[in-house]
Structures are given as structure tokens and as C-alpha cells.
């Protein structure tokens, strides 16, 4: 769909010429997020600098019936910040200010384009931090984190993004600017903040966010344990949780992943191990010391080849650097990969890893694994080369099978990355018709004309304007719990 001159001119009036991008080259680079498999260039990109401008853009688009696609840093993995139906993409990178830091009330209010890590950087010298730490925290925006309800390694103990959002300013699809929640946690009425977190832009654009800041723990210890097999490592995970230890993070990497990271930045992971566990404990110094010893002992009992405690902050940072850049490091092994994000009950970890291995052999594709073992959130990365169509096919088939295997073991279709275009058609595997229909009506309250990020999150049938209709037979009730 091409935009009319009227819309372009009106956008330019709102934003000035520097705030509107309509060149073919400009539209091209905005055609996908990190999931480059899905491409859809917007007709125009708008780069607002204030909530007022965002409001004006949405009103204009509603009047002209033009789709609006919000975009943060474009690090999403689900085909979220891309425009399958064209329209106006609203890039929020220029709205990246910290509006207020309120340490007595342990919160901060920021604009949506602010990079996650920059918030922690701004308050860490005063002993505070922003807890949600997706591995993309050095690039992803807080607005994007809120909209995908991002998780991260440390969410095992601290909770995911929604647990840290106190309030939002939202420009709804109807063009209203509303305040949801606020600094004070106890509020009368509906928890609309919680409802809007994870909406992936389908409710409108988040223009300001009030987040909780936490006091940094007194002590942190990171333990690295390597194992002869994934099973051994999974047993150690179960052992640690069973012992009543709640690590701040509990991450697992498999052999292929270790190889990619060591070929790249070299984080000092032991080569040759079949699996590595990264266990982080934080809290009062004495407690952390005792827990680290206990966790190390459990790893040894479960057959660890080597157990190491990071000696200082530099070594700890290096161990984490490898983990955080794992996905990027895969570029050294293959030009492309599909990243699956699914969850299984923790007890099923060894079983699902065996199944993933079988799938990889069956389809003749390499699958690297890096995941949040503590909460059973898997990230199998299926490698392929897009110049070979049959490789793409095999990867796609393997990807489907992994997802179905997770669901069969009682898992969910997505853990933390969100739904986007990628998983929209998969939601019926998980939710009943009544549930989906309700979500669909709820969305209509925020976005009456369904112009906000169309095609994402909810399964849609472009042919029927009515509401959700199931795309395929569901699994039996309870199969996904």
C-alpha cells in the first residue's frame, strides 16, 4: 500500500523533514527486526522526539486508516518490528531520555527508546540497577522490553519485565494518551499496566515507562561448571533447585554453542565439555558464599568435569559476556539460524534435550543450545544457509518439530521473546477459542480500528473482519499446562 501525499505532508508537518524517512534505502533497512526471515518494509518511517508527536502521528494514521508499527531497537526475534501491511513505522530511538530518577521511591521514569543497559549505567554508581536483563540489554530498548515482556538470565530470581513496570504512558490506537499505573503500587481498579505489558504494540505506543529500581546485592558469585553431557548438567539444575537455592541466574550452553563463543570473543569456557552451567548467586555475602559452595558441591556430585568460581569482577564479566553474545557469535558457524523460544517444565529438560538431538539428526541440521535452564526456557538455534533452499526447508521442519515436542511435554509456544508474526498462528495450540476471542475483544478496546501493529500477536484471518476463528483443531485441554 502506498501512502498518499497528504499523509506524507502531514507527517512532515508534525515531525519536520528530518523526522520522516521515505527513501527506498531508508524503508529497506527498516524492513525487518533480528528475525530477518520475515520482511515487510513500511511505506514511511516516522522518528518522533516527544509523546505529543506520537499522539499526532497516531491520530493522523487513524484518520487516514493507515497501519502503525512501533519499533524500538529492532532486536526482536519474532517478526515484531516489521510492517507486513506497510504503513507508518514509528521508530522510538530518538526518545531515549531518562525523565526522572527517584531513588527515595526506588523508581525511574524513562522514554521508551532508552537502551536497557543505559538505565543501569546511569544509577549503578549509586548502588542501584534495573533488573530485567535480556541478553540483548546492550541494544534493546526499554519500550521494546515492555512490549515483549522480556525475560533474561536474572529473571529466575527477580522476575520478568512486567514485575518491574510500575506505570506506563500509552498512546492508544484510538489516539488517546493515557496513564496506566504509576509510582505507587497500590491503586484502585484494574491492573491496566500488567495488561499492556507484552502487548507488542497492538494496543498502541508506549511513550513513557516508570520502572522499579533495585538495590544491588551485597555480594555476587558466579560459578561455572562443565559436564560430560547435557543430562548431567540438567541433573545438576534439578539438584540445585531441589536444595532450595534460588540462583539469580542459571544458564546452560551446549557444546556447539561453546565452540562458537570460544571461536569468537573467547570467554574462557572449557573447550570440549558437552555442556556448561553458569550459576550466579547474589545476596548477603555470607549467604552467597555458603550457597556457592553448596551449588558447586551439587555439580560435582552430579558428575561435573570442572567447577570454577569467578575470582573477580573481570572474570565474572567475561563469563557473562560469552553468554550474552551467544546468539551473535553463531554468525561464525553459519550465515543464518532459526531461534526457537519455548518452555518445558524444568523436570523435562533432559528429555527435551534428547529429543532435540534426535530431531537434529533426523533432519541433518546443526542445533546449538543456550537457555535459561532455571525456568525451562529453551533457545535451540537451528543453523542453516539460506542459499540452499533445501537447508531452509530442513531447518524449518526441525523448528516445527522442536516446538511440537515442547508442547507435547507440557510446555508453551513461547517463553520470553513474544509472539509477533512468527508465532501468531501457533497461539491456538495453547489457548482455547474463548480465551482468544476475549483477547481479541480486549485489543479492540485499545485499538478499535485494528491499525496498531496488524498481523502480530493474535492469529488473524484477513478474510473475515469478525473476530478470531480457530485456524486449526486445538490440542486437548490441559496439554499445554
Amino acid at each position: 500500500m502506498a501512502l498518499t501525499r497528504t499523509v506524507l505532508d502531514a507527517l512532515t508537518r508534525i515531525l519536520g523533514p528530518d523526522g520522516v524517512i521515505s527513501s527506498p534505502e531508508g524503508r529497506l533497512v527498516y524492513e525487518c527486526d533480528m528475525q530477518t526471515f520475515y520482511k515487510g518494509a513500511p511505506d514511511v518511517v516516522a522518528l518522533p522526539e516527544s509523546a505529543e508527536q506520537v499522539e499526532a502521528i497516531v491520530r493522523l494514521c487513524r484518520r487516514e486508516r493507515v497501519p502503525v508499527v512501533p519499533r524500538g531497537s529492532g532486536s526482536g526475534l519474532i517478526g515484531g518490528a516489521m510492517a507486513p501491511a506497510g504503513g507508518v513505522m514509528v521508530g522510538l530511538n530518538r526518545m531515549d531520555r531518562i525523565l526522572e530518577v527517584d531513588l527515595p521511591n526506588r523508581c525511574a521514569t524513562v522514554q521508551p527508546g532508552l537502551v536497557n543497559l543505559w538505565l543501569t549505567r546511569a544509577v549503578e554508581d549509586r548502588g542501584y540497577f534495573f533488573a530485567p536483563d535480556p541478553s540483548s540489554q546492550m541494544v534493546s530498548s526499554i519500550g521494546g522490553n515492555v512490549s515483549t515482556n522480556a525475560g533474561g538470565p536474572h529473571c529466575l530470581k527477580y522476575g520478568i519485565t512486567v514485575n518491574h513496570v510500575l506505570g506506563l504512558e500509552l498512546v492508544t490506537g484510538a489516539g488517546e494518551r493515557v496513564q496506566l499505573g504509576g509510582k505507587v503500587a497500590d491503586r484502585p481498579g484494574y491492573d491496566l499496566t500488567g495488561t499492556a505489558v507484552g502487548a507488542e504494540g497492538t494496543f498502541g505506543l508506549v511513550t513513557a515507562i516508570t520502572v522499579r529500581l533495585l538495590h544491588a546485592a551485597e555480594a555476587v558469585k558466579t560459578v561455572l561448571a562443565s559436564f560430560p553431557s547435557i543430562e548431567h548438567a540438567s541433573e545438576a539444575v534439578s539438584g540445585i533447585i531441589a536444595a532450595g537455592i534460588i540462583p539469580a541466574a542459571l544458564e546452560m550452553l551446549d557444546a556447539l554453542m561453546i565452540q562458537a563463543i570460544e571461536a569468537g570473543i573467547g570467554a574462557g569456557y572449557p573447550k570440549g565439555a558437552a555442556a556448561v552451567l553458569l550459576i550466579e548467586l547474589d545476596g548477603p555475602a555470607a549467604e552467597v558464599e555458603a550457597q556457592a559452595e553448596r551449588a558447586a558441591a551439587i555439580c560435582r556430585e552430579r558428575g561435573a568435569l570442572d567447577v570454577r568460581v569467578a575470582r573477580d569482577e573481570a572474570e565474572r564479566a567475561l563469563l557473562w559476556k560469552g553468554r550474552k553474545e551467544a546468539a551473535g557469535a553463531l554468525g561464525r558457524l553459519a550465515p543464518m539460524y532459526m531461534l526457537q523460544d519455548a518452555v518445558v517444565p524444568r523436570s523435562k529438560l533432559p528429555a527435551i534435550m534428547r529429543e532435540i538431538l534426535a530431531i537434529s539428526e533426523r533432519h541433518g541440521v546443526q542445533i546449538a543450545n543456550v537457555f535459561h535452564a532455571g525456568d525451562g526456557n529453551l533457545h535451540p538455534l537451528i543453523l542453516y544457509d539460506d542459499r540452499h533452499p533445501e537447508q531452509v526447508e530442513r531447518a524449518r521442519a526441525a523448528n516445527e518439530e522442536v516446538l511440537h515436542a515442547c508442547i507435547a511435554m507440557g510446555g508453551t509456544v513461547t517463553g520470553e521473546h513474544g509472539v509477533g508474526l512468527d508465532k501468531a498462528q501457533k497461539l491456538p495450540l495453547q489457548y482455547a477459542d474463548a480465551d482468544l476471542n476475549f483477547m481479541y475483544r480486549l485489543r479492540g478496546v485499545f485499538d478499535p480500528d485494528r491499525l496498531m501493529n496488524p498481523g502480530k500477536l493474535l492469529p488473524s484471518h484477513p478474510a473475515c473482519g469478525e473476530g478470531f476463528r480457530p485456524a486449526r483443531p486445538r490440542l486437548p485441554d490441559g496439554a499445554w499446562i
Binding site: 524517512i21 533480528m34 531497537s73 541494544v139 546468539a327 554468525g331 543464518m336
Partner: protein, 421 residues
């Protein structure tokens, strides 16, 4: 280099960007917030990820060598902060250079044609640069400069104004002997690149470099006939000129040297890439070292300097050559010197070769950020190992009346060494 004429989408013939290298980019965006032009402009086309996407689109035939493509690549500082950030090992610098070569050969005419012609006629030609600088200093001393500035005559020509503001005064030349003998225990024999800008604007840095190398045990050979290393040509996509200069430079240095030393980060990083571009200069490229790399391994007698110093990482040293610890370790070895870390020390100051002349608006925005961070450290001295950075930061400090001294680390080391005697 085997030059198989081929077409790669919009790229043609020799020196096309390597598609395999382009495909290493997994589009994760980790490099994006580290990119200075993203921080100033806030748009995807002017990020490393966006630029790679455009280059790849051109290589895959989805995009021609358009003016907009050229513009977004022109706006790139070539600082290579993205390479440091990238976990996939995307060689952004060489991809950018190849794409610029292609644009120059087959793309639309450059929008900076005139200024570039001036720059390339003068900067890499030591004798002409010397003449231009002499004229500039005459213009200053005659009072004409003050008059022109007072009347704002250069205001309509921001690029000329930028050039004028960059150079404060032109120092007297410091002649170097053809050979500086080693002192004490002999470590080897090295050649010294005197550089174009360095030789005219910072002759003292060359003298200090030679003396420190001698003190460290190196015999220093300074060929009189040496020309320019070609870095500016390389960054502008002038591959033929670059190769010619590299070839000439390789011929200017004797074969029996252990290393060829430079004290200009931009030169060092281009020379270290010689092997990628031409076989004849590969050996010289492999022997190239920054002076700070060599000094860090040597023992130097250093006397006290009671100074509070901060260190700015020149892009082409930190990102281009991955030399970060050596300069800091050396400065810390000076008794009495306090080294305070500069926040975001490896974030470009906006100099970037002649970028500050071609794109003064962005360069100025970056310089402002750098100055604010320098001021916040409370340091009285800023050390940086590249003449471009020294000029840029010094001109910013002058404009803001910021009372800090801008030096090359070897200047501090030389002062300290003088006190040890």
C-alpha cells in the same frame, strides 16, 4: 590479489565487498548503540547494521549504487567501534572500504568533489601540506585571520571554517637524523614513519618517538624519501592511489627492519591492512607496530610527573588495532602521574581522518560530547595517540576555553624520561 572480474549484484569487478563477510552479520543490533552516527542521528540507515544491510542489498542485487547508499556510507566515520562490539566478527572496516572503492568507480559522483580534490591534492603530499600550513600561519600572523573570523566571513562555508578552526599554530619543523642509534641494550632495528600531518603539525611527537625507541634499545631508521601511507585514500575508496602509496612506502623502507613504527593510529591501522589489499606491501603491513606497542614491552627509565591525566582511545588504535592496555600501562608507569579513566574513552571524537572537514555538523556534535566527558574527569592533560584526535580535541578545547593540555602519550613519556636523567 587475484582480480577475477565478476559481478556481485551492483558491485562490479575487482575490490567488491566480500559477500561471505557481509553475510556474517546476523542483524542482532549489538553494534548499534556503540555507533556514533546512530547516537547523533537516531536512524537505522546510519547504523552499522543498517549500512551492512544496504551493502548486502547491493551485493545481492536488491539495490543499485544509489546516491542515498553513497550518502549513508559517506556519513560513516569509519571508526570501527562496531567491529569491537560485534560478536559475529563482521569485518566492517574492510567491507566499508571496498564498498567505497566500488562507489567511487561505478557510483554517482561524490557530493564533496571540490573539497575532496583539495584535500587529496594537499594532505597526503608532505611538501604541499607544508606550504599550505605555512600560508595559513602567515594568514594568522598578519591579523587577517582575526579579521575574517570577526566578520564571520567563513560562516557560509562551514567546511572551510572547520578547517581553519582546526589548526591553531604551525610549529617549527624538527629535522630528524637519518639514523638514531640505539642506547643501552640493543633490541633491534626499526623504521619510523614520520607521517604527513604528524611531521608538520606535531614534529615534536616524531622526535620523542625516535628518542624513546632509541632509549628502549632500538636503532631507528628514518628514510627521508618516505611519502604518505595512503590511509586517507583508503578511507575515501581511492584504491588505486592507496595501492600506489603503499607500494612506494614499502620501497622506501629497507628490508632488514624488525618493525616499522608509527605514532599515528590512523596510519598504523591502514598499514596493518596492507596485506589485504596488495601483496607487495604485505610484509611492511605485518611489520607495522604502533610505537606504544613496542614501548610497552621495553624498559624505560621514567622520572616523576605530578599530573592528572586522562586517556582518549583513538578509534584506529583501540578499534582498528585493538591496542588499549599498552598506552594505559605505559602512562601508569610514570611515577606521580594519576591516570583517570575517561568515560566512553573509545567513543569517536569526530575527527576521523578528514571527516570533520567533510561533515562538520556531526563531527561537532561528537566533539561536544567528548569535551563534556573530558571536563568531568577534572584531568589537566588529555593523552591521545593520533594527530587527528589531537587537532580535533585541541580545537574544541580552544573554542570552549577549556584549560587542558592535549598531548600524544609519547610526549609525556619523553618528559618523564628526561627527568630520569
Amino acid at each position: 590479489m587475484a582480480t577475477v572480474p565478476a559481478t556481485l549484484g551492483a558491485f562490479r569487478g575487482a575490490d567488491a565487498p566480500d559477500l561471505e563477510a557481509l553475510r556474517k552479520c546476523v542483524h542482532c543490533g549489538i553494534c548499534v548503540p556503540q555507533c556514533p552516527t546512530f547516537r547523533v542521528l537516531g536512524e537505522e540507515m546510519d547504523t552499522p547494521r543498517g549500512r551492512l544491510y544496504l551493502m548486502r542489498a547491493a551485493a545481492e542485487g536488491r539495490l543499485g549504487l544509489t546516491e542515498a547508499l553513497a550518502r549513508h556510507l559517506d556519513l560513516c566515520l569509519g571508526c570501527r567501534a562496531c567491529e569491537t562490539a560485534c560478536p559475529s566478527g563482521v569485518p566492517f572496516g574492510s567491507l566499508l572500504e571496498s564498498a567505497r572503492v566500488q562507489l567511487r568507480r561505478h557510483g554517482p559522483p561524490s557530493r564533496h568533489r571540490l573539497l575532496e580534490a583539495l584535500v587529496f591534492a594537499v594532505f597526503p603530499e608532505p611538501r604541499r601540506l607544508g606550504a599550505l600550513l605555512a600560508a595559513l600561519s602567515l594568514y594568522r600572523r598578519s591579523g587577517l585571520g582575526r579579521l575574517v573570523r570577526a566578520l564571520g566571513l567563513l560562516r557560509p562555508f562551514p567546511r572551510l571554517a572547520a578547517m581553519e578552526a582546526l589548526v591553531a599554530e604551525v610549529p617549527r619543523p624538527v629535522p630528524l637524523p637519518a639514523i638514531v642509534p640505539a642506547r643501552g641494550r640493543r633490541r633491534g632495528r626499526v623504521g619510523l614513519l614520520t607521517g604527513c600531518v604528524q611531521r608538520h603539525l606535531y614534529p615534536g611527537v616524531n622526535r620523542d618517538t625516535a628518542q624513546l625507541l632509541a632509549l628502549a634499545g632500538y636503532e631507528v631508521v628514518v628514510p627521508a624519501a618516505q611519502g604518505c601511507c595512503g590511509a586517507l585514500d583508503l578511507h575515501a575508496g581511492r584504491a588505486d592511489a592507496f595501492r600506489a602509496r603503499a607500494r612506494a612506502l614499502a620501497a622506501a623502507f629497507p628490508d632488514d627492519l624488525d618493525f616499522v613504527v608509527t605514532n599515528a593510529a590512523g596510519c598504523g591501522s591502514a598499514m596493518k591492512a596492507y596485506g589485504h589489499w596488495l601483496r607487495e606491501a604485505a610484509d611492511l603491513g605485518a611489520k607495522t607496530r604502533d610505537v606504544l606497542e613496542l614501548l610497552a614491552e621495553a624498559e624505560l627509565p621514567l622520572g616523576p610527573l605530578a599530573l592528572r591525566v586522562t586517556y582518549h582511545d583513538a578509534c584506529h588504535l583501540a578499534h582498528g588495532q585493538r591496542v588499549r592496555q599498552e598506552p594505559r600501562a605505559l602512562l601508569r608507569r610514570i611515577p606521580g602521574l594519576t591516570l583517570v579513566e575517561l568515560p566512553d574513552s573509545d567513543f569517536c571524537c569526530g575527527s576521523a581522518g578528514v571527516y570533520n572537514l567533510l561533515e562538520p555538523r556531526i563531527a561537532r556534535a561528537l566533539l561536544e560530547q567528548k569535551l563534556a566527558r573530558i571536563a568531568a574527569t577534572g584531568a589537566r592533560v588529555v593523552a591521545a595517540a593520533n594527530p587527528g584526535c589531537l587537532l580535533q580535541i585541541a580545537s574544541g578545547c580552544r573554542a570552549h576555553g577549556l584549560d587542558v593540555e592535549i598531548v600524544h602519550p609519547v610526549e609525556l613519556l619523553a618528559r618523564a624520561a628526561a627527568r630520569a636523567r
